[in-house]
């Protein structure tokens, strides 16, 4: 294994790590409800084991050390020496949280720096069977303790090298000197801190042979700073001397020198071999070997004969790499990775081959068109010649004598031409027909292709849902509520881009359901309701939309109290009449909160407005229905994909804009005199409904052009708000591929993105929900200005 870790490998590792973390969490929750579920225990152990091995491969030492301890603990559980209890599950969940943060820190190119000794010690206690209240504490099955002879502090800092590294170290120690592992913590405050790695290297080099460093020499030589560096040194100097020469004033912070004996694990191993349950023993070399085996599927020849048997054993246990073929929700480093079912790629490949054929047909047609033109021009030239010929004859005096001849000749020639023209026409019609069918098939292929690519981006919503059981468990525990989480439609597929943005809003709404929606068990019993309460999370495909329901059977929302609060907060005026739906919509207003008390869980009324904004950003909608005493349901509706939308193209002067068809209700033609002004608003009357009108030309500050005889009004609607947009003309519907705009333009309100039209011009895609808001505001301001101006003039 080389020291060089390429980005691809890292991405793979992150993918796998997130997978394994999910798996551990899932198993832990299963374990909590059924403490003797051996399947869950096994899967837990395997996941921790794989995670440890992988982290060591990518040299994320803190993760591999930590998971190593976790694995130790799980191993004791697995072999039955320790009985699972809720205390243990808690410790393991806490440990998992730390692992999550470690991985997250690594994803940000950081290293987890919080103190985790408490949890580490608790894990160790589990491994040593000394955690309190474990009934089968010292069972007969307990494995003789032959492990670590070293003191724990040292043990935790032993870096696990792969087998290859060990061999390399062994071989390069040609003088068979004692080997030490020198672990150096560098002072990050030193202005020349990046020199430290090399400086220690040179000092150690003077004292002996530096066999290996982690990170490798090139990394140390690079401009990067490494907080902790491990040097493997073969030297005849004493441990104390090494310590002394490594120490550099204000450069090194902490130095740890420990003997690095390649043979020690082997001895431990043979001792373990005698014990009745050898696979439960964690002799270091075995871990190193099995770790190596996991990462290199092919079995490589291994130095020692004995371990091979064991290695094979471990290999069977080790889960296959990437056991779940689904793509994984990831962050940062990993966010660009998409795992796709290969059959979907095959479909795309099929379509591409069809396009290639299609292109060949078009090429042929192009040749045929060219030939037709040649043929046609030959005919025209012949025709012109004849024309000249006859005009010449007609102007001569010979006309009288040869009139009959001329007539015959003329008729014959015309008949010739007619035949030629007819046959040309037939041939040409063929070509046009062929062209039309080819272009039709191109149309079909491209829409299939579009769908295919879209499906590649589709990911099961399970990946977001999977974290909620833990969330609900933790929340209900914190709030002393009893809740069952029911999930449905986890296989519903969502665009990957959306999946990432969906997580936060969902977490927020679930928190809301658990915190505000759900009653305490006492309240529920008093109300004659069942305990535990149910929070249901459901995703479903509904036509062109994806719906997500978050419902609880809790206390529900009282519209009257929402109304009161809104009046109190001056969000609405006291005399405002609102439908129930509109009343619930007030909950999404900034700064609104119905909970009487602020809890740490659902926050302080900031949030639901952000939830709504986030969902609208994805062109989605969210609404609430609730029945007091029976429960509340949030419904999120999202488009299938964000990449391609159906758009209505409209023209405003010379500009073409695209409106997402999902928000277009209808379009009508009006004449300027239909525009009325009420209370400083421009409005139109559509079937006895008064709609406020917004001129796009005014919104985007386009220059005033001549008045037209008639305009079109596109009526758009978002969340029950309706509005008319005044445009010059409608161009038509089209599938629009959304291209994101560069950052500095995305802040421009009212614009959701851009697209490239067929002729290459760029057209802006409008964000209807923003425009509706913006439009109302701007209209008001403009009219206010106009009013002020006219007042001044008066």
């Amino acid at each position: 294994m080389s020291d060089f870790i390429d980005e691809e490998l890292l991405k793979e590792w992150f993918e796998e790590a997130y997978d394994l973390i999910d798996k551990i969490e899932e198993s832990l929750l299963v374990l909590e409800s059924n403490t003797s579920d051996t399947e869950a225990i096994d899967s837990l152990f395997r996941a921790a084991h794989t995670l440890k091995g992988g982290s060591a491969t990518v040299q994320f030492l803190e993760i591999s050390h930590f998971t190593h301890t976790m694995e130790d603990a799980m191993d004791e559980i697995r072999n039955g020496a320790v009985q699972v209890s809720s205390v243990i599950v808690d410790v393991l969940l806490r440990a998992l949280d730390i692992i999550k943060e470690m991985v997250a820190a690594r994803a940000q190119n950081n290293v987890y720096s919080e103190d985790f000794d408490d949890t580490l010690n608790e894990l160790k206690k589990i491994a040593e069977h000394s955690i309190e209240e474990s009934p089968k504490k010292k069972t007969a099955k307990k494995v003789p303790v032959i492990e670590k002879k070293e003191e724990p502090a040292v043990e935790s800092s032993v870096f696990e090298f792969g087998e290859y590294d060990l061999m390399e170290i062994k071989q390069s120690n040609t003088e068979h000197l004692p080997i030490y592992q020198v672990t150096v913590d560098f002072n990050e405050d030193n202005p020349m801190r990046t020199v430290g790695g090399i400086q220690v290297f040179t000092s150690l080099r003077d004292a002996g042979n530096v066999l290996k460093t982690v990170p490798d020499f090139d990394s140390l030589y690079s401009d990067d700073f490494y907080q902790t560096v491990i040097y493997i040194v073969a030297t005849s100097e004493s441990k104390e001397k090494l310590q002394q020469i490594t120490e550099l004033p204000d450069m090194t912070k902490k130095i740890d020198v420990i003997p690095f004996d390649i043979d020690i694990p082997e001895q431990e191993y043979s001792e373990a071999e005698i014990t009745p349950e050898p696979e439960s023993k964690k002799a270091d070399i075995k871990d190193m070997l099995s770790m190596y085996i996991q990462n290199v599927p092919e079995e490589t020849p291994i130095e020692k004969a004995k371990p091979i048997k064991e290695v094979k054993h471990n290999q069977e246990e080790a889960p296959k790499k990437n056991p779940v073929p689904t793509a994984k929700e990831t962050k940062n480093v990993t966010s660009s990775v998409l795992r796709v079912d290969s059959s979907r790629i095959d479909e795309l490949l099929n379509l591409v081959s069809e396009i290639v054929i299609n292109k060949a047909t078009f090429n042929q047609l192009a040749i045929k068109y060219y030939e037709s033109i040649e043929q046609f021009s030959t005919m025209i030239n012949a025709f012109k010649d004849k024309d000249k010929h006859f005009s010449g004859l007609l102007t001569h005096n010979t006309l009288n004598n040869n009139i009959d001849n001329l007539k015959n000749e003329y008729q014959k020639d015309i008949a010739d031409f007619t035949t030629q023209f007819d046959s040309f026409l037939i041939g040409y019609k063929d070509i046009v027909e062929k062209f039309r069918s080819t272009s039709q098939s191109l149309d079909r292929i491209s829409s299939d292709l579009r769908e295919g690519v879209m499906r590649v981006r589709m990911i099961q919503i399970k990946q977001v849902f999977s974290r909620f059981p833990r969330l609900v468990r933790d929340l209900s525990r914190d709030l002393h509520k009893e809740i069952d989480l029911v999930m449905e439609g986890e296989e519903t597929e969502v665009d990957k881009a959306m999946l990432d943005d969906l997580s936060d809003p969902l977490i927020h709404m679930i928190r809301n359901a658990v915190d505000h929606g759900m009653e305490t068990p006492e309240e529920r019993l008093a109300a004659g309701k069942s305990v535990p309460g149910i929070v249901k999370l459901k995703a479903a495909n509904e036509g062109n939309l994806i719906s997500i329901y978050i419902s609880d059977d809790g206390r529900g929302i009282n519209p009257e109290s929402v109304r009161k609060k809104a009046i109190e907060r001056k969000i609405i005026s006291a005399d405002k009449q609102l439908s129930e739906q509109d009343t619930f919509a007030l909950l999404f207003e900034p700064g609104f909160s119905t909970a009487n008390q602020i809890t740490s869980v659902s926050g302080r009324g900031v949030g639901l407005d952000v939830v709504k904004k986030n969902i609208e950003k994805m062109s989605g909608t969210v609404r609430i229905t609730s029945v007091p005493g029976e429960g509340t349901t949030f419904v999120i509706k999202l488009p299938l994909t964000l990449a391609i939308i159906q758009g209505l193209m409209v023209r405003v002067q010379s500009e073409i804009y695209v409106l997402p068809i999902s928000s277009v209700i209808e379009s009508i033609r009006i004449s300027p005199k239909d525009i009325k002004s009420i209370d400083n608003y421009e409005v139109i009357n559509v079937r006895n409904e008064v709609l406020s009108l917004l001129r796009l030309s005014r919104l985007f500050n386009l220059k005033k052009s001549e008045d037209l005889e008639s305009y079109f009004v596109v009526i758009v609607g978002i969340n029950d708000k309706k509005m008319g947009l005044l445009v010059d003309s409608l161009i038509g519907e089209e599938d629009i591929v959304i291209k994101p705009l560069k950052d500095k333009y995305t802040t421009t309100p009212g614009i959701a993105g851009a697209t490239v039209l067929g002729d290459g011009t760029v057209s802006l895609i409008l964000d209807v929900s923003q425009i509706v808001e913006l439009g109302l505001k701007q209209e008001q301001e403009n009219q206010q200005n106009r009013k002020n101006n006219s007042n001044r003039r008066n």
């Binding site: 020349m192 990046t194 020199v195 290297f201």
Partner: protein, 145 residues
Amino acid sequence: MKSASDFPTINAKIPDGLKEDGSKYRVLLVDDSIFVKKQLQQMLLSQDYEVVDTAADGEEAVAKYKQHYPNIDLVTMDITMPKMDGLTALEQIIEFDRSAKVVMISALGKEELVKKALLLGARNFIIKPLDRVKVLERLASVVKR
């Protein structure tokens, strides 16, 4: 109860330039800046080092080292100098005397050159602007090791 000697005085922190037998460590100062040379000289003299000679460029440094050899215990070597830079001078001095103790003087931001120098055999480095305590600590750690 703490006695007065438990509290280190400022001077107690700074190691001196005396060998175990009481004689002075002998230093060759190499720097093209007169100011730096002077500053360093003052620091060294204050702690009882002996400044054997000074040089203003790499060529001169190599020549002076050979001239005084083996009566030099330490060389402080600037990295950027006219005629011959500090790295080349270091290389030639080490080539001449494998056990030569050379400490590089570097400005901030020249990490790469410092690393090179360390790999070539420089024993340590000090950073400009010079901090008296740190400089003396480092030099002592080199000569007394």
